[in-house]
Symmetry: C2
Subunit: 214 residues, 2 copies
C-alpha cells in the first residue's frame, strides 16, 4: 500500500483504537460492519472514520461497509505490527516486571527479549522466562540481537544518562516511562508514557467536570 501524504499524529493516535475494536469484532465472528455501526461502536462520527481511513486509501465499499478482517490486517500493516519488533527493558523493578509479564504485547508482534538492571541481586533471575542481565551488557546485547526498541523503566536521572549510551547502538525507538523528556538524535523515536501527567489530566477533569461535561 502506498501512502500519499504525511499522516498527522492525531490520526496515528486513533489507529490503534480502530485496530483494537476490529480485533474484538473478529473475536465475535463479525465479518463486515457498516460505517454507521462501526461509528456507533467506537463513539466517533462515521465521517471521522471515513476521513481517517481515506488517508490510507479507504477500504470501505459503498453499500457493503468494511470487511473487518481485511481492515484489521491493513491497519496492522500500517502500524508496522505485521512483523516482530524485538524489545529489551532496562529496569527490572515493578514496572519492568509488569511489562515483561504482559503477554498481550507478544500477541501484537512485540517481543521482550531481555531485562537489564544494575542490581546484582536481580541479575540472573528471570521474569516470565525473560532473563535479567547486568546493565553494562545492554549495548552489546542490542547490537547482537537485532533489538529495535528499549523500554526505559528507571528513575529520571538514570533515564537521561542511559538514553545517551543507547545512541549509536542501532535502536530505533525508546519507550520512555521516566518522568522526563529525553534528548536523543531525531532518528531515535521516543514514545513517552508519563503516568504522573495522565493522573494530573484525570485530576483536572475531575475538578472541572461540570465544565468538562457541558
Amino acid at each position: 500500500m502506498m501512502e500519499q501524504k504525511p499522516i498527522s499524529q492525531a490520526i496515528i493516535k486513533r489507529l490503534p483504537r480502530y485496530y483494537r475494536y476490529l480485533g474484538e469484532l473478529i473475536a465475535q465472528g463479525v465479518e463486515r460492519i457498516s460505517s454507521n455501526e462501526f461509528s456507533k461502536l467506537m463513539g466517533v462520527t462515521a465521517s471521522q472514520i471515513r476521513q481517517d481511513l481515506n488517508n490510507f486509501g479507504g477500504f470501505g465499499q459503498q453499500g457493503y461497509g468494511y470487511n473487518v478482517k481485511n481492515l484489521y490486517m491493513e491497519i496492522g500493516k500500517i502500524l508496522g505490527i505485521d512483523r516482530v519488533h524485538n524489545i529489551v527493558v532496562i529496569g527490572a523493578g515493578n514496572f519492568g516486571r509488569a511489562l515483561a509479564g504482559y503477554s498481550d504485547f507478544e500477541r501484537r508482534g512485540f517481543r521482550i527479549k531481555a531485562l537489564f538492571d544494575r542490581d546484582p541481586k536481580k541479575v540472573g533471575t528471570d521474569i516470565n522466562g525473560i532473563e535479567v542481565y547486568p546493565i553494562d551488557q545492554v549495548q552489546d546485547y542490542i547490537r547482537k540481537n537485532n533489538i529495535e526498541i528499549v523500554a526505559l523503566t528507571v528513575p529520571k536521572d538514570a533515564a537521561i544518562a542511559l538514553a545517551q549510551t543507547l545512541v549509536g547502538t542501532g535502536i530505533k525507538g525508546i519507550w520512555n516511562f521516566a518522568h522526563t523528556d529525553l534528548r536523543v538524535p531525531k532518528d531515535i523515536i521516543v514514545e513517552n508514557v508519563h503516568l504522573s501527567e495522565s493522573l494530573m489530566r484525570l485530576s483536572y477533569n475531575i475538578v472541572h467536570r461540570d465544565k468538562v461535561l457541558k
Copy 2:
C-alpha cells in the same frame, strides 16, 4: 481564579508538562523566565505558551517574563493538585504494585490508600506500607474513606465488570490500565493508560520514520 471559556483537552494535555518543567526550574533555583527561554526549554513556540496560559488569565508580564514559582502554583491549582486526592488500586499484580511503590504521585497530591485483590494469598500483605484488602470490601472502603479515584490494573473483562460495581460509590474518576474502553455514567471521568496503543504508535513512527521526520 476564574475561567471564562471551556479549555480544550489539547491544552489540558500540555499543562502537566508545563508544570513539570516549572518544578524543575524551581529545583534549580530559577525565579523567573522569559517566554522565549521557556519556549526554548520546552521545545514549543513562545506564542503557543502565551496562548495556552492566556486561557487561564495570562500570568506573564511584559518585559519581565514569568514568575516561575507563581506560575507553578497557579497551574497546580488549575490541575486540581493543590489538594489531596485519595486513590485505591484494584489489582495487586505488578502494575498495581508499581503504582503503590511510586512515591512521586504522593508528592503531587495523590495518595494511594489501599490495594484490593481477589487472590487470598495477596490479601493482608502490604506494598510500600499500603495494605491489600479483599476485593469484595472495595465499595465499602470507598464510601468510608473519601476515595475519589480508582486505579484499575486488572484484565479487560474484570475491569468492565468492576467498573459497573463502582458506579454509585461516589468515586469521581477511574484511572484505567485495562486494554478496553469502560462504559460508565458521564459524571465518572475515565482516564485511560493503554500501553499496547502507546507501543503501536511507537511502532508506526519507527516504521514510517522517514516520513515522520520530514
